[in-house]
Symmetry: C2
Subunit: 383 residues, 2 copies
């Protein structure tokens, strides 16, 4: 029995950083996915295997896992529970037994999350799990959340507690259990990130657009077709330091900074109004796209003014501007990814030329539709 | 008898564009000057000559000038009066008689202003007037105001109504008559610009720093030594169109734009507080410079967000940023000039390297001290 779950990445459309100071931000799913395929194996094989598309290949005997996790009691609760620090240590011991390539040590916490979610949801059934992803890691596109969401969905789809019609064909959404998937995924995110906001896993689970402010998330139904070019600067950044620098600047220049944050909030509010509006024709769509392009330019200026831009980001802005396309950084800034709005009238040839130019600088480009489905699953029937 | 007057150019330190919407802006003099040398000639020679350092060379017979301006009555009022449209037409006729190089046709209104100020203040005395300038024309550095101020000062210094001690040596300020110089210069600016704000001629006349808001100017005494690199993009721009675009954007995004303008106002207020503070030591100076650099970065982000930056400006910003120096556009934007703060700890070698790099792009660089003297005069005694 095999199931594949795929969960989308996310981008912040507006309001990053300001959200830390109580303002509204708007996030959206993108149609770039992390997929998790889960195949249950016969009991006799006695191992749980985890493979991914970058060459990671782990295998644990069920007996060894049971031994290490025995102090936790069994069976585990089937409702989402947090992984204690003590349990993380036990899981780390399981991972330490394997040789982890130095360059991928940052993924270790993803393996802890895997072991926690797997054993919590499926117990000790032998299986092979294959993870593949279209999302760059650590670039602010929510790759870890997409991984946790896809993993949770795949595990729940084959768990005894969830009854699924496995004869369904093709991709389908996992509506009835979406809340449960989201909660488990959040537990996984906590293992990976410590104190995630919950926005990334919610966007990945439910798809579409989410507005969030002071911890409260509101789902927005957008039917506006919207495409972005996402350019990964490949410049790593320290999100905590960037957030701290903004707070320090706010202390030094309280008047100016609070007005800047108000301006960002107004931009987030305009974004959510525009993408909820129903464009009645191409003219209306095009007018809305122009407004959004202008909002992106404004938001980028404000992000520059709070000090979170970066030379690599500015290079991308300037390059896109030569094609009269508006851009803004997305996420923490200081590197990471840049969004460039691709209005409906822009030809593929123009986009290709822009991508070629950006990639000649060493950047990595993705084109993505905005606000599509959340997590979906598909049953395969390989023996 | 010869007198030379020199008047400084100006930069906007903070608040450009926002000032149009009722916010505070801060302008400062720079130690780059336009000089006007005026030598009275013996009555027998019967001409008024105007020469400048770009090769303009005009000469009118006193008789011809009298003929054209006869309908105005004589003698002229020695208090500053506006030049009527009809008079401008008469002056234009005098200029049209001369061959004006096509490339310098934009300077014609400067010649009208010359003829108006000359005949109003000195009447029909024969003289040679030589204008030279360190200021680029049409780049937002107040070259026309510096010209009108220096010209008015030179004319007033040799007029019968102003009694000067011509035996004074070296440059001296023209304090007692500064208000009169400023008023005459404003009349000249009106001939050149139509509806000038009066800020440029006030800064050029009085020097130092001026804060202005809704038409009210307040002089600020700053003792902070401050140096800027001024880079001229050489990109011409349409100030009226830029101002109109900002207003249109404000109509489209009223919430965000009004917060952006508030942020700019807060930055202007901080600027004027900081430059009025008396730095007690180098450490304090350096802390203030850091604050100003941050304010410039913030202001630039906000100017970008209202849509008045330009690719050439962004190139300069990025180049200066490689040297960890903060910059902002000054004036209308869309080209024009960019300011880069040169903190006291920055070595001449670093500045030279930056200038070399910027000039390799085809830009033109000036280093300037901020907030120095206004108009000054000096008597020569060439026979």
């Amino acid at each position: 029995m095999e199931v594949t779950a795929r969960a989308p990445g996310k981008i912040i459309l507006a309001g990053e950083h300001a959200v830390v100071h109580g303002c509204t931000a708007v996030a959206s799913s993108i149609d770039l996915y992390t997929s998790v395929s889960l195949r249950l194996r016969s009991e006799g094989e006695g191992t749980i295997k985890l493979l991914n598309d970058t060459g990671l290949d782990f295998s644990w005997s069920i007996a060894r896992i049971k031994e290490v996790l025995s102090h936790l009691g069994s069976p585990f609760s089937s409702t989402p529970t947090s992984c204690s620090l003590e349990t993380v240590k036990s899981l780390a011991a399981l991972v330490d037994e394997k040789s982890f390539p130095e360059s991928k040590i940052g993924l270790a916490s993803g393996v802890y999350a895997f072991l926690w979610l797997y054993t919590s949801i499926l117990g000790f059934k032998p299986a092979t799990v294959i993870v593949s992803s279209e999302l760059p890691v650590g670039a602010g596109l929510g790759s870890s959340a997409a991984y946790c969401v896809a993993l949770s969905a795949a595990l729940l789809a084959l768990s005894d507690s969830v009854k699924m019609d496995v004869s369904q064909k093709g991709w389908f959404t996992f509506k009835a259990k979406a809340e449960l998937v989201n909660k488990w995924a959040f537990e996984g995110e906590k293992i990976i990130h410590g104190r995630p906001s919950g926005v990334d896993n919610s966007v990945s689970t439910f798809g579409n657009v989410i507005k969030f402010k002071t911890g409260v998330m509101t789902r927005i139904d957008s039917n506006m077709p919207l495409r972005m070019l996402i350019t990964n600067t490949k410049v790593g950044r320290d999100t905590k330091a960037l957030v701290a620098n903004v707070s320090a600047r706010k202390l030094r220049h309280p008047g100016a900074m609070s007005s800047v944050l108000n301006a960002i909030e107004a931009i987030s509010d305009e974004w959510s109004t525009i993408i909820q509006s129903h464009a009645v024709d191409d003219l209306c769509l095009s007018a809305n796209e122009e407004k959004l392009a202008e909002l992106m330019e404004m938001n980028q200026g404000l992000l520059f003014s709070i000090g979170v831009s970066h030379a690599s980001i500015e290079t991308i802005l300037q390059t896109a501007m030569e094609y009269k396309l508006a851009s803004k950084l997305t996420g923490a800034g200081g590197g990471g990814c840049v969004l460039t709005l691709l209005p409906s009238h822009v030809s593929g040839a123009v986009v290709d030329k822009l991508v070629e130019e950006l990639e000649s600088f060493g950047f990595q480009c993705f084109t993505a539709g905005i606000g599509g489905n959340g997590v979906q699953i598909s049953f395969g029937h390989s023996s």
